[in-house]
Every structure is written in structure tokens, then in C-alpha cells.
């Protein structure tokens, strides 16, 4: 039994720690932004963005040849912008509805990305279809390392630490703006918060994080990192702050669990992290304190919002001022 628990450490040594840390650092910014995507009912926009930024990443990579280059973010941003424009052009100018417009534009851009990848890059070890599907998380330990605090740290970890820190600082700064504009756009607009600006800010943040996570988990699995932690946390909590903290915890647990699945069953690391996340979500669905099926089943009766706030309370307070 103990053998199973120590297996990753026996096999990988400090590498196991780096893999967990990297998976956590990739998932963390995704989970924080993703929680707001869920609350704003934009979960599938995350899906659309992660697909449609792909041609931008390919083109930028073609010119720079470096997956860590900031130009990738520029390319991705442009591709994301094109997809937004396409969606608007289709559903504002014709009678095709928004869902179909989203479907058309992101599949087109993703297909374009794959064709460009195959024709422009040919056989490339750093960016190929495998990478798009699986990510390169498992190859982390073969990456360059840099000395930091007396340790040889894999370079992607340093990059992702930066991305996570920037995301968290921005989220903390704009916490109230995000909260209010997600909950009640009308009131937020009446305070002078610009809904369009916040919307595009969100889209930009998602594009940025998707590109940062792209190398590790690929273009498709990143959707899971955006949605699963927030959704699982949403099923367990009624408080936004708790939800965000639980989403972060979900990331950590998935990272650890993902590594064990990866080592025990010799599976793809990035997908293992996601599968572990999905299992956690399933647990939240069944046992979660808020939406747990099991509790509901035991309680047997539907929840009644209590209706007995007396009129007396207000009438007395009406004269208290």
C-alpha cells in the first residue's frame, strides 16, 4: 500500500514535486478566471476562445520558433479578436443565432490552425497535433532548468509562477468590479463600470491564460481547467470567496491526483489531471454540502425558502429614522 503512495517519488524524485507544482500553477489561473466565466454564464466562451486562438499561436510560433515567446500572446489575441468579430458579423447581420455563430467561427479558426500547423510547420517536435491534444506537461522534466534559490528549477515553472501571480493580483484588484458586474450588470453600469470594457477585459485575460496553459495541456484540455474547478467549487459553496478558494484547492488536489494516475497507470499527465478533476467534480455533485445529490435524497423534502419575514419588522423600522 505504502509503495503505491510513494511510487511517484521513488520513480521521479524531485521531478514528482515539479510536476505537481507545474500542474497546479497551470490550473490555478485558469480556475480563478474560469470561476467568473461560470458565474457570467460564459463557460462556452472559454471553449470558443481556446479553440480560436490556435491559428494565432501557430503563426506566431512559425515566426519565432519559441513556445514561450510573448509574440504568441499577440498572435493569440489577434486570432481571438478575429473570432469575436466573426461571431458578431454572423449573428448581428444575419438570422443565424449566437450559438451557431460561435460554433461556425471557432471550428473554422481551429481548422485553419490545424491546416497551418500541418503545412507551415511540418514535423515539428515542439508544436504538433499531439501537443494540441495532450499538451507537453509530461515532458516538463526534459525542459531546460534554471538555478533558483539553490535549486535547478524547470523553466516553464518560473513562467507559470509569473502568470499565476499576475492573474491573482489582478483578480484581487478587480475583485469587486468582477463580482458586481457578474451579479448585476445593470447596477454595475449605473455605477459607471463599463460592461463592454469588463467583458473584453475578461476575454483578454482568458486568451492570455489559455496561451500560457497551451504548452502544458494543449488546446482542448484547457477548457477543463477553466470550467471544472469553478464548477466543482460552485457545487460546494454559497460564498464567492470560498468558491474561489475551493477552486484553487481543486487545482491542487487534481494536480496531486493527476500525478498518481499518471505514474500508476502510465497515462498522459495533462489528461490525468483533468480526469482527476472530473472525479472531484463528481464527488462534489454527489456529496457536496450545497448541491449534493445524497443530502437532497436524504432530506427527502424540497427546500422551502421561508416566507415568514413579518411585516412588523419593516413597519417599525420605517419610523426609526
Amino acid at each position: 500500500m505504502m509503495d503505491y503512495l510513494t511510487l511517484p517519488w521513488d520513480v521521479l524524485g524531485i521531478g514528482a514535486f515539479w510536476l505537481i507544482l507545474m500542474a497546479f500553477l497551470v490550473a490555478l489561473p485558469c480556475s480563478q478566471v474560469g470561476s467568473f466565466l461560470i458565474l457570467r454564464r460564459m463557460a462556452l466562451t472559454g471553449d470558443a476562445i481556446s479553440h480560436s486562438v490556435f491559428p494565432g499561436v501557430v503563426v506566431a510560433f512559425y515566426f519565432t520558433g519559441d513556445l514561450a515567446s510573448p509574440w504568441l500572446i499577440v498572435g493569440a489575441g489577434l486570432a481571438g479578436l478575429i473570432s469575436t468579430v466573426l461571431i458578431e458579423l454572423i449573428h448581428k447581420r444575419t438570422r443565424v443565432k449566437q450559438d451557431a455563430a460561435i460554433g461556425i467561427s471557432f471550428t473554422s479558426l481551429f481548422a485553419l490552425g490545424v491546416v497551418l500547423l500541418e503545412t507551415m510547420l511540418g514535423k515539428n517536435v515542439d508544436l504538433d497535433l499531439e501537443c494540441v491534444l495532450h499538451g507537453r506537461l509530461g515532458l516538463l522534466l526534459e525542459d531546460e532548468t534554471l538555478p533558483l534559490l539553490g535549486q535547478m528549477v524547470p523553466q516553464p515553472i518560473i513562467v507559470m509562477t509569473g502568470v499565476s501571480l499576475v492573474t491573482i493580483v489582478l483578480m484581487a484588484l478587480f475583485y469587486r468590479v468582477l463580482l458586481l458586474s457578474s451579479f448585476d450588470t445593470g447596477l454595475a453600469a449605473s455605477y459607471g463600470y463599463r460592461p463592454a470594457l469588463i467583458h473584453y477585459g475578461m476575454m483578454f485575460a482568458v486568451s492570455f491564460i489559455v496561451v500560457a496553459a497551451f504548452q502544458a495541456v494543449g488546446a482542448i484540455l484547457v477548457i477543463a481547467l477553466l470550467i471544472l474547478p469553478g464548477a466543482a467549487a460552485y457545487l460546494c459553496s454559497h460564498r464567492l470567496k470560498t468558491m474561489l478558494a475551493l477552486a484553487a484547492l481543486h487545482c491542487l488536489l487534481s494536480a496531486v491526483g493527476g500525478l498518481y494516475i499518471h505514474v500508476w497507470f502510465d497515462t498522459n499527465m495533462a489528461a490525468s489531471v483533468v480526469v482527476c478533476g472530473a472525479v472531484l467534480l463528481l464527488l462534489a455533485w454527489l456529496l457536496g454540502p450545497v448541491d449534493g445529490l445524497l443530502w437532497k435524497w436524504f432530506k427527502d423534502e424540497p427546500e422551502h425558502p421561508d416566507n415568514e419575514t413579518g411585516d412588523k419588522i419593516v413597519t417599525h423600522s420605517a419610523c426609526s429614522h
Binding site: I38, R41, M42, A43, L44, G46, D47, I90, R93, T94, R95, V96, K97, D99, A100, A101, I102, G103, I104, T107, S108, F110, A111, L112, G113, V114, V115, E118, T119, L129, L133, H134, I220, L221, I223, A224, L226, I227, L228, G230, A231, Y234, L235, I261, F265, D266, T267, N268, A270, A271, S272, V274, V275, G277, A278, L281, W285, V290, D291, L293
Partner: protein, 436 residues
């Protein structure tokens, strides 16, 4: 029996596959687009991946039927879980779809990465490869597509009613739940038919894009079904041919881009709902409005002079319209072309022809009637009504004019005290010049 239909050459097989997938997805795509469940299609198509992987691993001889059934089962479980998540939690549809899409896809990848030997061909299912489709696959695709066609043929009406208005369908006594179940069942089947040619990642494109293009071309559902199938088949063939020409490119993305190109063309040139048609209509309207405004200005100059003179000089008209003489001449030329005015011999002035008089009077009448309606019936202040009437005068039809006249009790003066002309009387021989 089906084998007779299967061509022996590789190209023939690819074309047959394209026809089958175009037909299957084209049919169901129409319902997907009309029901606004495009993203459900995307979720189901990703959710079939673990089924495909299971099929590849556990089928001893890669039996297409086995793979097909596993994939369809996974898709259906996914669709069911989406519904269950939405029904039992506070999660909204977008989050539920995203969760299932991502989790199932990851599960597929994990399972596949553990059994790489058994799942060598999985890339064909992820990004599509028409070349990998053999006779037994085609047999499977034929059976499924025929089944789908038969089901759509028999269930078209009830499915359409359920898609359009569920409440109404329930009122008719339709088993709405069963019909919805049947719909998702068919949707999953159509996804699986297209799987090998287009691939999990982009199946939703072949479902949505041809149907959306068809939707822009017609208002009839039957026509939409046929067009959508046609576009799907065309995209399938074009994509198949191109990707066969350039080696190494998976078929799915090329088919997707072919479908997008079709949509792009239709987007611009569709006769009623296309962007170009809309632009043309707007510019035609704008030209009519400019022409009619010039016509009205001629009438107003005449009116100001008490209809004393027959001719109006172009310079006066230019002053009235606050435009350059050149611009006014252009408008007048267009009026001339439509037989509404005639120029004097020296070309410096012009007068209205009889149809010109009629239309000018109609316009002025419309304008003044509408102003009166807004002030009297809708309680607008007098100074608010002119701008609105400027727009409305061009679009009031005879029926609306009759209604207006009735509601206003056949008025003679507008709110500013100007007479409302009566073209009907004038045309019966009463010369407009003689009216005060």
C-alpha cells in the same frame, strides 16, 4: 445487399463517405441550428471519444459496428449527464456542457494514452481521415444514414413542432420527452457517422455550418433540409479531395474549412438574407427616398407659389433642397428616367408629369397625415413630429393611409394648418393647380 453500392476504388469510397456524412449531418444539423443547441452538438461530439477508444481497445477485429455502438453509447451518456447536471444542480447549461465535453474528452485521452498499441488509429478519429474508411465502415455508415433519413422522414413534423414550440407540442399531446430523447439519439448517431471522416474535434462544424448556410438561403424547412445535405456532401467531397491531394493533412480541418467557405459565400450572396442583398436593399431604399424627397420639394415650391406656375427652375430646387445644382440635376435625371418629370426645352427648369404629380401629392399627403396622427392621436408635441413623418412618408402603403384617414375622420389640414392634398380627387380630372 449493400455491398453492391460500395465502390472498389479509394476515391469512390471517399466520395461515398462524404455523401453519407453530408446527408446524415446535414439533416440533423438543421434541427440543431433551429433548436439553438449548436453547443450541445459540440459537447456530444467530444463526449464520444472514450467510446471510440473503448471500441478500438476491446474490439478484436476493429469491428465498425462495435466501435460505432461504443461511441454512440458514450455520446448518449454524455448528453444524459448534461441534462442530469442541469436538473439537479444550480449549474447553468453552458457550464454543464463544458464539464461533460472536457471531462469525457480527457477520459478518452487518458484511456488512449494507456493503450497506445491498441489505439494506433485514434488520430483518424480525432482529426478525421477519409482514406482510412473501408468497406465495412461504409456499410455501417450507410445503415445509419438510411436509418436517420427514414426517421427524419417520419418524425419531421413532430420534431419540428417540438423544436419550434415545446409548450404547444405538449398541448397537442405529443410525447415531448420521448421526442427530445429521440432527437438526441439521432444527433448522436449523426455525429458518429461523421466521426471517421471529420474527427471528434471538428464534427460539430459539419453539423452546424452547412445547416446555417442553408438557413440563410430559404424559408422552407424541406428546402433547408435538402440544401443543408447538399452543402454537407459538397464540403465532404471537396475536403476529401483536397486533403488527399496534400499529403499528411487530416481530413477534418479541410472539410471544416470547405464548409466555412460555403457559408462565407452564402453569407454574402444569399438572395434575401445575405449581407450583399441587404446592402443593396438599403441603398435602393436610400435612392428612392432621395428621389422622392426631390419630388416632394418640387411640389412644395409649387404650393408656395399657389400653383401659379407650371415650371420650377433647377436652381430654385437646389436652394430648396440645400444641395448643389449638380446634385439636384442628378436626382432630376433619375426622376426623368422614371417618367415623373419633364425638362423644359432650354433645360433650366422642369415640371411634373401626371404620374409625378400623383406620387408627389401622395408623399405630401402621407407626411401631413402622419404628422396629424402623431399630434392628435399619439399626443406628440407639434415640434416633435416632422422628423418622424420625413421617414414614414415613404413607407405608408394604401391600406395604412386608408386607416389613417378613417381614424382622423378625413382631415383637410395638417397640424401646421397646411392643406392635405388628395391625389385620388386630383387624378379624377381636378387639376391640382386650381386648388387654393
Amino acid at each position: 445487399m449493400l455491398d453492391v453500392l460500395i465502390p472498389s476504388s479509394g476515391a469512390g469510397k471517399a466520395i461515398l463517405a462524404a455523401i453519407l456524412l453530408g446527408a446524415g449531418c446535414g439533416l440533423l444539423g438543421c434541427f440543431v441550428v433551429l433548436r439553438r443547441v449548436a453547443l450541445m452538438g459540440d459537447a456530444i461530439s467530444h463526449a464520444v471519444l472514450p467510446g471510440v477508444v473503448a471500441g478500438l481497445i476491446y474490439s478484436p477485429d476493429r469491428s465498425p459496428i462495435f466501435i460505432f455502438l461504443c461511441a454512440a453509447a458514450a455520446g448518449l451518456v454524455g448528453a444524459g449527464l448534461v441534462r442530469a447536471l442541469m436538473a439537479t444542480t444550480r449549474l447553468k447549461s453552458d457550464a454543464a456542457l463544458g464539464i461533460i465535453l472536457a471531462s469525457f474528452f480527457a477520459l478518452g485521452i487518458v484511456w488512449q494514452s494507456r493503450n497506445q498499441q491498441e489505439t494506433v488509429g485514434v488520430m483518424n478519429f480525432l482529426f478525421g481521415n477519409v482514406g482510412s474508411i473501408d468497406s465495412s465502415d461504409l456499410r455501417m455508415m450507410m445503415m445509419t444514414t438510411s436509418l436517420l433519413c427514414v426517421m427524419v422522414f417520419f418524425l419531421k413534423r413532430p420534431l419540428l413542432v417540438v423544436s419550434f414550440d415545446e409548450g404547444f407540442a405538449r398541448g397537442l399531446g405529443y410525447p415531448v420527452k420521448i421526442l427530445n430523447g429521440v432527437f438526441y439519439f439521432m444527433l448522436t448517431f449523426s455525429v458518429v457517422v461523421a466521426l471517421q471522416a471529420v474527427g471528434v474535434v471538428l464534427v460539430s462544424a459539419i453539423l452546424i455550418t452547412p445547416a446555417a448556410a442553408a438557413y440563410l438561403l430559404t424559408d422552407r424547412f424541406e428546402k433547408m433540409l435538402l440544401l443543408s445535405m447538399g452543402f454537407g456532401i459538397f464540403a465532404g467531397i471537396v475536403g476529401g479531395v483536397i486533403s488527399a491531394g496534400i499529403s499528411q493533412i487530416p481530413t477534418g480541418p479541410v472539410i471544416t474549412l470547405a464548409a466555412s467557405a460555403i457559408f462565407g459565400v452564402v453569407y454574402f450572396v444569399a438572395p434575401r438574407h445575405g449581407v450583399l442583398a441587404k446592402l443593396l436593399r438599403t441603398s435602393k431604399r436610400r435612392r428612392i427616398v432621395m428621389r422622392e424627397n426631390t419630388l416632394k420639394a418640387i411640389y412644395q415650391i409649387q404650393e408656395a407659389e399657389g400653383f401659379a406656375y407650371e415650371d420650377v427652375s433647377v436652381i430654385m430646387l437646389a436652394q430648396k433642397r440645400r444641395q448643389t445644382e449638380e446634385a439636384v440635376r442628378k436626382r432630376c435625371a433619375s426622376l426623368l428616367k422614371h417618367g415623373l418629370v419633364e425638362f423644359s426645352e432650354d433645360g433650366i427648369s422642369l415640371h411634373l408629369t401626371s404620374p409625378g404629380w400623383k406620387r408627389a401629392m401622395e408623399l405630401v399627403r402621407n407626411h401631413r397625415l402622419w404628422e396629424l396622427y402623431l399630434t392628435n392621436e399619439a399626443d406628440y408635441a407639434e415640434d416633435h413630429v416632422h422628423d418622424d413623418a420625413e421617414k414614414i412618408e415613404h413607407i405608408l402603403g394604401p391600406n395604412m393611409v386608408r386607416q389613417l384617414e378613417q381614424e382622423l375622420d378625413f382631415p383637410e389640414l395638417d397640424p401646421h394648418g397646411k392643406p392635405i392634398p388628395q391625389p385620388q380627387l386630383a387624378m379624377q380630372g381636378l387639376e391640382p393647380f386650381s386648388t387654393p
